[in-house]
């Protein structure tokens, strides 16, 4: 079971990383001049919803988030059962990073962020709850408009920037760990994968936090 659980975590984690790349790539459209970005972003959003391939992938995506969360809970519960009494003094932080010791906590904050994020967009655009999403001049749902509207609110900008930090940290440790869980053992490759993971986590951090800030600034 150890094997199955950890491998599911690794597979789903890496799949979610790929999703993040695509997600970030699409969202970079928001940084283009607003005339271009408006139409492009809405048609990009519409395509995502209409493509059968993307639909299938998105099922995997939801499943991945679900499995990653469920198995995290199972693993944490098993780990907690394995622990003895707590140490009175514990400085294991000297022998390992805070991030690696707190993946569960980081994951939990990411989950909260995902819920906020989904309620902001997916809830309205996909499920049609809440305020009706207006259509643009091409008759597509104007996702661009609701995005820019959202980031006129500085609190949301703040939330979006802050919550990217745990995501980035989670990736920093999780990316290379996933490879090790899947059996990448050559020290040379492990080092390279760690470097890639670190770079990736920085790109995610900068990329996703620049967007809300830029949109906010533009809206001023």
């Amino acid at each position: 079971m150890l094997f199955v659980r950890k491998n599911i975590m690794a597979f789903t984690g890496l799949f979610l990383c790929i999703f993040l790349v695509v997600h970030l790539g699409g969202n970079l459209i928001l940084l283009l001049p607003s005339e271009t970005a408006h139409g492009l972003y809405n048609s990009y959003s519409a395509k995502l919803g209409g493509n059968i391939f993307i639909r299938v992938v998105s099922i995997f995506l939801y499943l991945s988030i679900l499995l990653h969360t469920v198995y995290a809970a199972l693993i944490t519960s098993k780990n907690n059962k394995s622990k003895g009494k707590k140490y009175l003094v514990n400085h294991t932080i000297e022998s390992s990073s805070w991030t690696s010791q707190n993946m569960g906590l980081l994951g939990f904050s990411i989950l909260i962020f995902i819920l906020i994020h989904l309620s902001n967009f997916w809830w309205r655009v996909k499920l049609g709850y809440g305020e009706i999403v207006p259509l643009d001049s091409n008759g597509l749902k104007d996702v661009y408009l609701i995005t820019t509207e959202l980031f006129k609110n500085p609190y949301y900008v703040f939330i979006y920037v802050i919550f990217i930090i745990p995501l980035s940290m989670h990736i920093k440790h999780g990316f290379s760990s996933a490879f090790k869980t899947l059996g990448l053992y050559n020290l040379n490759y492990i080092r390279k994968v760690s470097i890639i993971g670190n770079m990736f986590s920085i790109i995610i951090l900068i990329g996703f936090s620049v967007i809300p800030v830029a949109v906010y600034l533009r809206g001023l």
Partner: protein, 248 residues
């Protein structure tokens, strides 16, 4: 020098246990940490009190019997060392030194600082050997082993079975211990024949013994007295994946 030991005392496994403070002032810097405990015990005897039980034997860092959590770290402030190789010169005058037993469900406390690590024995019994009887060996040089393979096998085989990896792991995982043994035997031509069986059975035993999952915090390789690399765990995962996929 003068220090205060704050030591976990527990009569037996069924007892609750508590910390007791002992001030000692006849400690010299050359003393090893265990010799300081010896000296404390000697003074306890003179006061008619029972001594603090702690595990130790060879006192040269190779038998793996000693090992306690000192000031929040396995085997004290230094990395990659055993408790017996820790000397009092590593502590400050007047310091309070908190001493706790290894904490893990798979390592129940027997008394004071002594824990039961027989779970490690059971992991080895589940496959940490080469199935060959005395008397069946071929000429040693008929099995060639490349120097690099022999050297890596030695790196892994150096494990002393002390349990520092488990003690320091936030999940109480025995992955470093188990993987070191699996890899030592799996990479050698002598041990390859039963590599799949070995990795399947030893990892299964590891889980049954109530050890947690590995989440690659890396604390284990920092505390391991024999510098065993965490890449061993990745290699174990690789062998396990291979065995699961192809050997069922």
């Amino acid at each position: 020098m003068r220090v205060t030991f704050k030591i976990w005392r527990q009569e037996s496994n069924s007892d609750d246990g508590r910390f007791v403070e002992y001030e000692v002032d006849n400690i010299s810097e050359e003393m090893s940490f265990l010799e300081a405990l010896d000296s404390l015990n000697e003074s306890l005897v003179q006061q008619g009190k029972g001594v603090i039980a702690f595990d130790h034997d060879c006192r040269e860092g190779i038998c793996g019997q000693c090992g306690v959590f000192i000031n929040g770290r396995a085997n004290g402030p230094h990395s990659n060392t055993t408790t017996c190789q820790l000397h009092m010169r590593s502590f400050k005058e007047g310091e309070v030194i908190v001493v706790e037993p290894w904490r893990a469900k798979a390592f129940p406390v027997i008394k004071d600082l002594v824990v039961d690590r027989s779970s490690f024995d059971r992991i080895i019994q589940s496959g940490g050997f080469i199935t060959a009887k005395t008397g069946t060996a071929p000429e040693a040089n008929s099995i060639l082993v490349g120097k690099d393979i022999a050297d890596s096998a030695m790196d892994m085989a150096a494990c002393i079975g002390c349990g520092a990896c488990v003690a320091t792991c936030k999940n109480s995982s025995a992955a470093l211990f188990t993987s070191a043994k699996i890899n030592h035997l799996n990479i050698l031509p002598q041990g390859k024949t039963e590599s799949s069986k070995r990795v399947l059975e030893m990892t299964e035993r590891m889980e049954l013994e109530d050890f947690g999952h590995c989440s690659f915090t890396g604390a284990c390789e920092i505390e391991c007295p024999e510098n065993i690399s965490i890449s061993n765990i990745a290699k174990m995962n690789f062998d396990l994946l291979k065995a699961k996929l192809f050997k069922g």
